[in-house]
C-alpha cells in the first residue's frame, strides 16, 4: 500500500543539509513495522514526507496507488484526514476539549453523523481502557492515559496507515509496554498498517519487522549496537 523509491530530502537555509537520500521502502496493507536509527538521522523527516506534511526533493511516494507529488496541499490534507492516523511523543491532546471530543475530532472533520460518531468514540475509549473518562479534561489525565487517548484518536476513523513517532518516549516502562500493546492490537484489529518510530529495542520488538535508518539508507534489521 505504501511504495517509496529513491526518496531524498535536503533542508536548505544558511546551513543546508541532506537528511535522507536513496530511500526505498515498501509496506504492505496490515503490516506493522518499526523504524529505528540514531537521533537526527531523519526518522521524523521520513514520517512527515509520508504524511504529506513536507515535500521530498527527489524520489516518489505512493500511497494506495496515488503519487503524493501529484496532489496539492488540500488534496494531501484530505488524504491524511481520511487515511492516516498520528500518535506523537508529546501526546498533543487539545487541552480545551474533553477526552471524548478529542477522540471524536477526526470524525468531526470527516463529517460523520453525530449518533454514529458517539458510538464509535465510546467503542474506541473502551478499547483503550478509558470508558469512564469520556468527560474528563486532558489536564486531569496522566501521561500514559493521554497517550491512550491519542491512540484512540489515531484509530477512531479506521485509517489505513498509522504513523507513530516515538509514542512511548515520554512514558515509564510499564505504561510504555501497555501503550505499545494497545497500539498494536488497535492497528491489527482495524486491519491497518503502521510505522512505529522508536529508540527502544523493546518497543521495536512489538512490530512485525524492524528497519534501521542510516546515512546509507533504510535497511531491514535492528540497530547494530
Amino acid at each position: 500500500m505504501l511504495r517509496i523509491r529513491a526518496l531524498a530530502k535536503r533542508y536548505e537555509g544558511p546551513r543546508p543539509r541532506t537528511v535522507l537520500a536513496g530511500i526505498d521502502f515498501d509496506l504492505a496493507a496490515g503490516e506493522y513495522v518499526a523504524v529505528m536509527g540514531e537521533s537526527g538521522i531523519g526518522k521524523s523527516t521520513l514520517l512527515n514526507l509520508i504524511a504529506g506534511l513536507d515535500r521530498p526533493d527527489a524520489g516518489s511516494i505512493e500511497l494506495e496507488g496515488r503519487d503524493l507529488a501529484r496532489l496539492d496541499d488540500d488534496a494531501l490534507t484530505v488524504l491524511r484526514r481520511a487515511r492516516m492516523g498520528f500518535v506523537f511523543q508529546a501526546f498533543h491532546i487539545l487541552p480545551y476539549l474533553s477526552v471524548a471530543e478529542n477522540v471524536a475530532l477526526p470524525l468531526v472533520l470527516l463529517g460523520a453523523a453525530a449518533g454514529e460518531g458517539r458510538a464509535r468514540v465510546d467503542a474506541m475509549l473502551s478499547e483503550v481502557g478509558l470508558n469512564g473518562r469520556a468527560a474528563s479534561r486532558p489536564s486531569e489525565l496522566s501521561g500514559g492515559e493521554l497517550q491512550r487517548v491519542a491512540i484512540a484518536r489515531a484509530l477512531v476513523h479506521r485509517p489505513a496507515l498509522v504513523l507513530a513517532d516515538e509514542p512511548t518516549g515520554n512514558l515509564d516502562p510499564d505504561s510504555a509496554a501497555q501503550v505499545l500493546a494497545l497500539l498494536r492490537d488497535a492497528v491489527k484489529g482495524n486491519n491497518g498498517a503502521a510505522i512505529l518510530v522508536t529508540h527502544s529495542r523493546a518497543a521495536a520488538a512489538t512490530a512485525d519487522r524492524v528497519y534501521t535508518l542510516t546515512a546509507a539508507g533504510l535497511r531491514a534489521g535492528g540497530a547494530r549496537d
Partner: protein, 840 residues
Amino acid sequence: MAHVPAPRLRGTLRATAGALAGHKGRVLVTIVAIALGVALGYAVQLVNRVAVNEFGQAVQTLSGTADLAMRGPRGGFDEHLFGEIARLPEVAAASPIVEVEARIPGRDDALRVLGLDVFRAGLIQPGLVPEAAESLDTLRDDTIFLNAAAMDWLGARTGDLVPMQVGTQVIRLRVAGSVPAEGHAQPLAVMDIAGAQWRLARIGRLTRIEVRARPGADVAALERRVAAMLPPGVAVERPAAAIESTLRLSRAYRVNLNVLALVALFTGGLLVFSTQALTVVRRRPYLALLRVLGVTRGGLVGLLLVEASAIGAIGALAGLLGGYGLAQLVLEIVGPDLGSGFFRGLAARATFEAAPAALFFALGVATALFGSLAAASEAARTEPAQALRAGDEERAFGRLAPTAPGIGFIALGALLTAAPPVRGLPIFGYVAIACLLVGTILLIAHIARAAFRRMPVGRNPPARLAVLQLRGAPGQATVSLAAIVASVSLLVSMAIMVASFRQSLDAWLEHVLPADLYVRAGRTGDTAFLPPDVQQAIAALPGVRRVEFLRSERLLLDPERPQIVLLARAIDATTAPLRLPLVRSADLPAGGAPPAWVSEIAADVYGLAVGQEIVLPIAGRRVRFRVAGVWRDYARQQGAVVIERALYAELTGDRDANDAAIYLEPHASPDAVIRALRARIPGAAELETALPSEIRRRSLKIFDRTFAVTYALEAAALAIGLMSLSSSFGALVLARRREFGVLRHLGLTRTQVGAMLATEGAIVSALGLAVGTALGWVISLILIHVVNRQSFHWSMDLHVPWTSLAAFTATMLALASLTALVSGRQAMGAGVLRAVKEDW
C-alpha cells in the same frame, strides 16, 4: 548538603526581559497606548492651563493694583455712583471705567474698548495708560490707543482710522498711539472716558469702578460699606473673584475634556492588562520554572511589576513629549479654548511645568502597574507543579475575573447616578461610569461562558471547532473581550450622547427660529443696536407682515457668577409656548407680578422653580417677576431670562433693539425684503441679515467644530481598543500554534484553520460589540441625564443614531474577523507543523 545559590533578581530580570523580547510587538503596542493616553491628558492639561493663566493675567492687567472693583449690568450704571465712592475717606484712589465691546464692521469678533480717566487710571492701572506722541491726544474724543494684539488684529498703525459701528452708524476713531497692557494677550483699545461715553452711546454710564484703599484701611470693612451704597444689580468684589466667576463658566468644559483624556489612558490600562495577562499566561511554565529554581512568590510579583513599570515609564515619557508637542500644535491651530469659544482671541504657547508633568508621568506608570497587578498576583499564587501542565492556562484566566466584585461595582455605579454634583462638577457621574465599566469587565468572563455554552455547535468542522474551542477555553477570549467592550462602550456612549445633543440642538433651533428672516444690528459686541426709527422703517418695508424686536442686556444677579442674559421681547402667556422651547410651565394668576421665563441653566444655577418669585435689578431698581416657565437654552451658558419688551421699555426707557424677527407676507420673498432693507434704511450696510436655515447651518457647524476635539479623543480610544484587540488576538494565535499543527496533522486544511480563526474572531467580537453597545447605551444615559445635566445644565432628548451605529458595528465585526484571520495567517507559516514537535 551543597549550597544552592538563590537566583539573583538581576539575572532573572534579564531572563524575563529576554522572554518579553519574544513579545516585542505587543510590548510596543502597550507602550504606544500608554503614551497616547498620557499625551492626550497632558496636552489637554497644558492647553487648559494656558487658557486659565492668560485669562487671569488679562484680568490682572485690567484691575492693576485695585483692592476692590464694582461691576453691574453690561449696559452700565449711573456715573453719580463714582463721586460717592471716590469721596469715601478710606479710598485712596478710584478709577471709573466704561467698557464696551465695540463692533468692528466686517469682523467676526468685537474689540474690547476701555474708556478711562487717564489720570486716575494711572494711579491704579498704570499698564493701561496710553503712550501718545501728542499728550493732548489722550483727552480727545476721537482718538484711540491700541495694544500690540489689537494693532495686529486690525492691521492698524498710529495715524490710521478704525471704524466702529454704533447703533446702525459707523464712526471712525484715529489711532493716536499704543497702550502697553502687558499680560493682556487679547486685542484691547483704550480711550478717554468722556469720549467713549459720548461716541459709543454710553452717556452718563459706567460699567466698572476700580478702587484702591488707603494704606492701613480695613478692606473688608470698606467692601461692606461700599456694598451698602450700591444700587441693585451692582456688586463689589475683590478682583481675584472676578477671575473665579468667569472661569467657573468654562470649568465643567475643561474638566470634561480632562476626563475624556483620562478615558484614553484608561483604555491604555486595559491594553496593559490584556498584554500582561497574555504574556504572563504564555510564560506560565517558564515562570513556574523560576519558582522551581527558587524565586519566591514576592520575587516573582516584583519581577513582573518592575517589568510593567518599565513599560509604563517608557510610555509615559514618550507621552509627555508627545503631549507637549500636541499642546503646542493645538494652541497654534485651534487656540487655547479648544473650540469651545470660552476664551476667544487668546493666543499663547504652552510652558513646561514640573508638577503636572510629574502627575501625568505617575498616572502612566500607575496605569501600567494596575494593568499588570492581576496577572502578576495570579502568576505568583499558582503552584508551580500545576502551571507546568498542559491546559492549565484556562484555570489562570478564570481566576483573573472574580464575580462578586463585578456585581458590586455595577450596583455601586447604579447607586452613584443618583448622587448630586460636587462643586458643580458631576464627579459621581464619572465614578458611576467607571464603576459600570469595571464591573462589566470583571463579569465579562461569566457572560462569555454563558453565551458560548448556549451557542449551537454546527456541523461545519471549522465553525464547530471554533465554538468548541471558545467553550472549552472561554478565558482566553475574555482578554480580547474586555478590550472590545471598553472601547466600544465608550465610543457608543459618546456617539449616542453627541447625536442626542445634535438632534436636540437642531430641534431647538427649529423652535427658536420661527420667523422667516432675521436682522441683527451686529452679531458681536454691544455697540450696535436698532434705534426706534430704524425699527419703524423695518416694519414698514413692503412684504413684511409683522416684526418682533428683541433687546438684550446683561444683569448681575450674583457677584459670584457671570452676568445673566436678559432678553426683552414681544411675548406673553399665550405666545410663550410658541416662541420658547418650554420644558416646564404654569399658568400664573392674573394681576400678580409680571411673568418671566428662565432658561434651564438659570433655573439650575439660581435654584428657580416655576411659580417662584425672581427679583431682577433693572434700571437700578429691584423689579419682581414670577417664573412662568423654564425653557431649554443651548446658546447662553451663563443663563438667560426672558421678559416682556413693553415692560422693559417702560422700566428703562430703552426702546432700542438688538435683533428683529421678521414674518413675511405669504408671497413675499426674503431676498426682495433684504434688498428693500438695504436700499431704504440708512446704515443698513452694517446690519446683518440671515435666513433661519443659514443660522441653523452655521450653528450646527459650530457645534461640530466644538465636538471635533471630542471626536479626536474618541478616535484615539477606538484606535487603542483595536490595537489591543489585534495584539491579544495575535498573542492567542501564537500561543495556539501547536494546536494548529496538530489540527493540520489530523487533516484540517489551511483554509479551514483560517475559517476557524475568523469564526472565533467574529463570535468574540460580536459578543463584545453586543455587550459594549448595551453598556454604551447605559453610559450614554448617564452622560445625558447626569454628566451633562450637572456640568452644563443642558437637558436633551435621547436620540440613538442607529444607522451610524450599525455601520460602526459592521465595520468592527469585519475588522475583528480580519484581524483574527491575519494573525492566523502569520501563525500558519511553515513553522506550524514543526511546532508540533515542541513540548506543550
